[in-house]
Symmetry: C2
Subunit: 442 residues, 2 copies
């Protein structure tokens, strides 16, 4: 390959912006092209989640590019799940014994921070640049009506990536897009009249209801952004909420405590879109001198809070590989693709599975007992038995694929444990050592 000097990144969302900073710091001449206007100057939030949960895999890259402190100021720590039952009763489940937290952060706030950093590092950022086509053989982008040549093209243009679509039409490119039967709609709990949080600020709130759920994440201004995950069609579905009365009755019955806190419910419900939830998988993540990162390569459902974190990890891994291979992209690209695809597949599967756990199991007794026993194992053997949620969320040094494999093994061990007689009363007398010995060493 010719020497790489000029890199074009398509998509100045969270992942594209972060990647541009990494590459500019390596000394490349980086151009970042975004189809929308500059979000620092215009309100363009519609259709995308307003806030996100940042966790360790996201923090590490932010730290590497020197943005950790600035990002921290934008966040609210959430130290556990706050479960709301049908009567409005609360149960708190901490994420960890040592106060581990995930961090609610505004998408636009973080994106602005990354764009500022990109510009400060010498990245040239161009807005309102719609990528219409890419010539993968000759490394040419068609942006609006202008052709741009580059040494490397990076598709960071999200789940409906134009760069990936071009790859889909080349031979031997594996691709899938699978939609859930559920859609989602964003709603809000505004701050109190004194601008305070109306419910616990340091929790991720969940109203699990079997086949559907409502969640809420805090914002810096005292409000919460709520998301209703609900089937598109069927007996209980968005399809059935066709009148104001139906919407109000549904919320009063299913989420009575939340309903009381949502004065703008009807307005939010009508003005916000009902969006679909897609899982995108692809491989390989490069073709010739073009590559994919973030949702463009692997859009996942939001139920593990890992979409952005996984995309940020893509950037970190690619940067590490460029260091390892001394910026030889011919060596780095195949390695990047081969290494990251199993990790992305693993977190895709975990995210799909976690939807069922969040909406259905988190409130049931067996699930809580299981978690109690796992917590005990973790307390006794903190290095050996790390709950899968912790491995994914708080252990950025364990690859997703390894976490998933260990999680499967733990689950099969726990299935046997859960079949023990009188477990509810006797679980503290289990032979924890023999349980832990069923795991291989990390």
């Amino acid at each position: 390959m010719n020497k790489v000097e000029k890199i074009s990144i398509v998509g100045a969302g969270l992942v594209g912006s972060l990647m541009s900073v990494y590459l500019a710091k390596r000394g490349y001449k980086v151009s970042l092209f975004e189809s929308r206007p500059d979000l620092r100057k215009a309100d363009i939030s519609a259709g995308r989640s307003i806030n996100l949960a940042l966790s360790n895999r996201g923090w590490l890259p932010l730290q590497e590019v020197g943005l950790k402190e600035k990002a921290e100021k934008l966040t609210i720590p959430m130290k556990g799940r706050m479960m709301h039952n049908e009567k409005g009763e609360l149960t708190f489940q901490p994420y960890g014994k040592s106060g581990q937290a995930i961090y609610s952060i505004s998408r636009s706030g973080l994106n602005s921070l990354l764009l500022d950093a990109a510009e400060a590092t010498g990245v040239e950022v161009f807005f309102n640049q719609k990528c219409k086509e890419v010539d993968l053989n000759n490394n040419i982008l068609l942006l609006n009506d202008k052709k741009i040549s580059s040494d490397i093209i990076i598709g960071a243009d999200g789940a409906f990536s134009v760069i990936r679509q071009a790859m889909e039409h080349t031979s031997r490119f594996n691709y899938s897009q699978q939609y859930l039967e559920h859609g989602y709609k964003e709603l809000s709990i505004p701050p109190s009249s004194t601008n305070d949080f109306k419910i616990d600020k340091n929790s991720l709130h969940i109203w699990p209801r079997g086949n559907f759920m409502l969640i809420a994440l805090p914002n810096l201004d005292g409000s919460f952004t709520c998301t209703l995950f609900f089937p598109f069609e069927g007996d209980q579905s968005f399809d059935q909420l066709h009148s104001d009365e139906a919407i109000i009755n549904f919320f009063k019955k299913e989420f009575p405590d939340a309903y009381e806190l949502m004065p703008d419910l009807l307005n939010d419900f009508h003005s916000n879109p009902t969006s679909a939830l897609v899982t995108v998988r692809s491989s390989p993540w490069y073709k010739n001198r073009s590559l994919l990162i973030g949702d463009a390569a692997h859009a996942i459902v939001p139920f593990y809070g890992q979409g952005m974190n996984c995309g940020f990890e893509d950037c970190r891994v690619l940067n590490d590989l460029l260091t390892q291979f001394e910026d030889n992209w011919d060596l780095a690209l195949p390695e990047y693709s081969q290494m990251r695809t199993p990790d992305a597949n693993a977190i895709s599967d975990l995210a799909l599975k976690n939807f069922i756990e969040m909406r259905d199991h988190v409130a049931d007794n067996d699930f809580l007992l299981r978690k109690k026993i796992e917590a005990k194992l973790n307390e006794l053997y903190p290095e050996k038995w790390i709950p899968i949620y912790s491995m994914v969320t708080f252990n950025e040094n364990i690859r997703y694929s390894k976490a998933a494999a260990l999680g499967k093994l733990q689950a099969s061990i726990m299935d046997k444990v859960m079949a023990s007689p009188n477990l509810e009363s006797q679980w503290e007398h289990l032979d924890f050592e023999s349980i832990i010995n069923q795991l291989p060493s990390m």
Copy 2:
């Protein structure tokens, strides 16, 4: 929906042509658009398989549209598999005890027959019509540079369907394309100097070699079309066959008897493309008033000989549903999609699995013993124990999805049987009644 009068079918291959005949017979005004020239006048075989195996699910629709007798004249029955080992020794495995056969037929011969029938039934056929775009909301095709309106659009345009690609970009359309690590290349065994078949004419010939294989199907002119299925990359792969010497050495070593019969090997090898093998899945198979049939909806790998047969079955099922719903397409389309997607998924999975069976297992002793026991079960209980291959190939009244489910059940029963002690010598003394009673009634 408005009354349906005018139907446009994109793709005048085997499936599109057959569908046009069915619909013209129902009284619709049908236009059939094909991007290539008329294959009855031009040689355009490159890149597609030359012959195919027609079996019961393909025969039934041909009979329904009155083409069975004419098609029969184009076929050569294959009554079993002829296995060739590394020494050139032969083993024949009949498909059934009563002389059941699958039928080798030329793709272009059958396609010509179907096009003639389409024209004779009043279908208007247009060649050299490249479909560039489809407007799924307004039912408009862009063909070359002309817009065509229709009441119904049918995408019969193959694995890389333009109609399906438009659907892929609509929300909640599930889609996947997965490539095998193997590719294929067509080769040939010409007739003898007296224009006779050089190997048994009434067999599907297989040279199974573990990770790869060669197969051969007879043609009416005394020749055989051979197909080498071989990895693209790796130690033993197309990648390694980079010189004439390497090609010759490979064939001499792996397929010595075939090599002797292939005077044009090098020429064939160099002039025929190495093609990829893709599995395409999608759902739903319709959007508004456009629908998919055949490979456009479900391209499968060729290892069960069911690609064309499944596509023909799509046509028959859709025609049956139109009869059932009195040509109400609003009712027929959702039912067609819901009914056929599990069947297409089932045959996709079976075809992938059969590659391993064909290239690897057919030659091994356990496999042969297993088949012997299954044949005995079938002989004793012909209505209850039908081998999966027979259900798929010879029992057009059993849906693919049901055949696959029964096949799975049979396999789990046979796994237990195969674990019996001294089976090789004692299998005739098995308690066949207790085995058969593990199956539910059909």
